[in-house]
Symmetry: C2
Amino acid sequence: MNAPASTIEELTAQRDRASQDHAALVARGLKLDLTRGKPSPRQLDLSNGLVDAPDSLTSADGTDLRNYGGLQGLPELRAIFSEELQVPVEQLLAAGNSSLELMHDALVFAQLGTLPGSQRRWVEEPEIAFLCPVPGYDRHFALCERFGIKMIQVPMTADGPDMDVVERLVAEDPKIKGIWCVPKYSNPDGTVYSDETVRRLAAMRTAAPDFRIFWDNAYAVHHLTDEAAEIADLLALCAEHGNPDRAFVFGSTSKITFAGGGVAFFGSSPANVEWWLSCTAKRSIGPDKINQLRHVRFLRDADGLREHMRQHAALIRPKFDAVDKILTDELGGTGLASWTKPAGGYFISLQVPEGCARAVVAKAKEAGIALTPAGATHPYGDDPTDSVIRIAPTFPDQAELEEAITGLATCVRLVGTEKLLADRQG
Amino acid sequence: MNAPASTIEELTAQRDRASQDHAALVARGLKLDLTRGKPSPRQLDLSNGLVDAPDSLTSADGTDLRNYGGLQGLPELRAIFSEELQVPVEQLLAAGNSSLELMHDALVFAQLGTLPGSQRRWVEEPEIAFLCPVPGYDRHFALCERFGIKMIQVPMTADGPDMDVVERLVAEDPKIKGIWCVPKYSNPDGTVYSDETVRRLAAMRTAAPDFRIFWDNAYAVHHLTDEAAEIADLLALCAEHGNPDRAFVFGSTSKITFAGGGVAFFGSSPANVEWWLSCTAKRSIGPDKINQLRHVRFLRDADGLREHMRQHAALIRPKFDAVDKILTDELGGTGLASWTKPAGGYFISLQVPEGCARAVVAKAKEAGIALTPAGATHPYGDDPTDSVIRIAPTFPDQAELEEAITGLATCVRLVGTEKLLADRQG
């Protein structure tokens, strides 16, 4: 454990050491990438059985899956994911390769058509807004930005979005049409929404009659430990509280099987599912059912899915552990950083002193360590505190990851100490 | 060859025979389906090799195709289809399972974003319209209807859309933003656009600065004979005539490999492709590259593709021939019908006397023969002449098809003769 430097002299010495360490780091000419939450090749190897030819190309009900049709997706596959996504099979649809596509399309369909409960198409509203819990997922924010949807930040707490803020905003402002949520092992904090948070989201009064929760349950089965986090059943709670059409549930196999050849899911109330199908029926004659069949054959059932995810955890838990250990060794006690220790998901959130995140990312880049741009965790790429750095530890191999995190810690020491010195001297 | 009935007595006798034949047909309790252009199980069998596990899951450039990325699609696959779709590889994108999705999304992106050449987003225009050559493809029209795009009918000729009409309309009306085209073996007439038609489409002056040709080259390689129809190169002609961004080219493998597990293509000018990628980059991190790889391994190259299509032709040409033979035997010389004899594609267009198509489809339904609804070939499902019936001969097996077409001919004889009698007596 380190101790915080306190005098100008101690800080200067610490800065000089960090500066030398950084120079040495740059000299090594590394090329390491911590930018995106991608599965590693060894994780992908776990699913190589997915490409084996299925023994038959018909579904359980005898449908020839090679031909057109089947807009709802393969019932057998929806059955496997129904429990973990907390959506009844008949309200769960299986689609193409990417749940981001489904979130995009949900926004498109609401803009160009009329949602259950909507008074008009969203394009006809003078302005619409979404609540964005921060830190959050940059691709959610990019969708809002692309469609000119105003983003209103809401702080995250240890239990999920600050519900006092959420309840107040949605009750008073009919422009607010939705909220982005990653309810389990949130991106990037790893937060698991408490039951009370989920209940309040389901029950709250909204000024907009067509308010939607975009429930991106991307890490539903992505546990790092044997204690699988469970969240409350949003769809059931919405129905129970008289808001049956409030939730859009999204999920995918991108980080379960192949990110470049998986299946995505959409689940919602019966009315929303009917509306969704009326929109997608014009767009497609059906998803790739052969790939859905491969997933059924490969995962077998919900237990097969859970066993498969335990193999992922065995590969990536040592990486999360290494990040925590190195950050503790290098930065623990210095007062220069704090970080999350998530029990699942794909990210660790590193908090550095205010005004330092961009500089740390820049220093890391000088040393050949690519990080997600500082600010990416906030709407418009602008973290007003400039203090959050998202670490994605899964993709690099163990040795590269440890090298990258050690280098990152050096950059935090350098930038953080310079900041403290400047504060003292300024 | 039959002779046309001319006297009231002959017509009455012909009507009575047809009526008896129809009653006998109904009594048989058939259950036959000619509604949609679906490949038959034997056609799908041709592609069963598609599901064999690829020997490697990396692309030619070493990319791990199991992971995220590669928004443009696999270069090797785009190379296979570049020649037949007449789009340079670098301007051709490979996507998911359905080209209809890409046409839908093109309309979405133009409505919610700003196309190259657009003065504003299409949702901001008071009204927009598309030209719809008729008869045409019902799913194109359904997309326009869904988005409130006005449809303006243009008659088809033996050379494609009536270009005198097209040129006049697009020159005077800036509301007209596009035209639907199936340029080779059109749905449902089987028309191949002449070189002069393609040239005029590329060269014509349009009042809208952001006019687009939706070039649905669905049957680019779907020849029924050894003489492969060739059409002029629309993209090249657009560039040559100073309208480089006018064409959106669509294609897919739906009727080449698996309709329920294929790959779709989008091709256009460099500026349009850049715009397309800027839109899709927000929507997806990449298409299913594993399925694209399967297509590369299975089809091998452009020659492999052409050889594969010859196997399809060997299976479906006898079906097209049988339809022509039965219609000739049953209706030839009666003056009650005419029909197309396409050299490729998926459809035969049957022309019955004005005001008879709906009644024929209804009579066929009574006999258990399902046909595409009369009117489906026209916007809003409304064929003002009520005379066009689309026949989709590929899906049923040969015996069922022959039974269905014989039954259909009976219905045409019955309804057509009743019409002639009513005209005489009325």
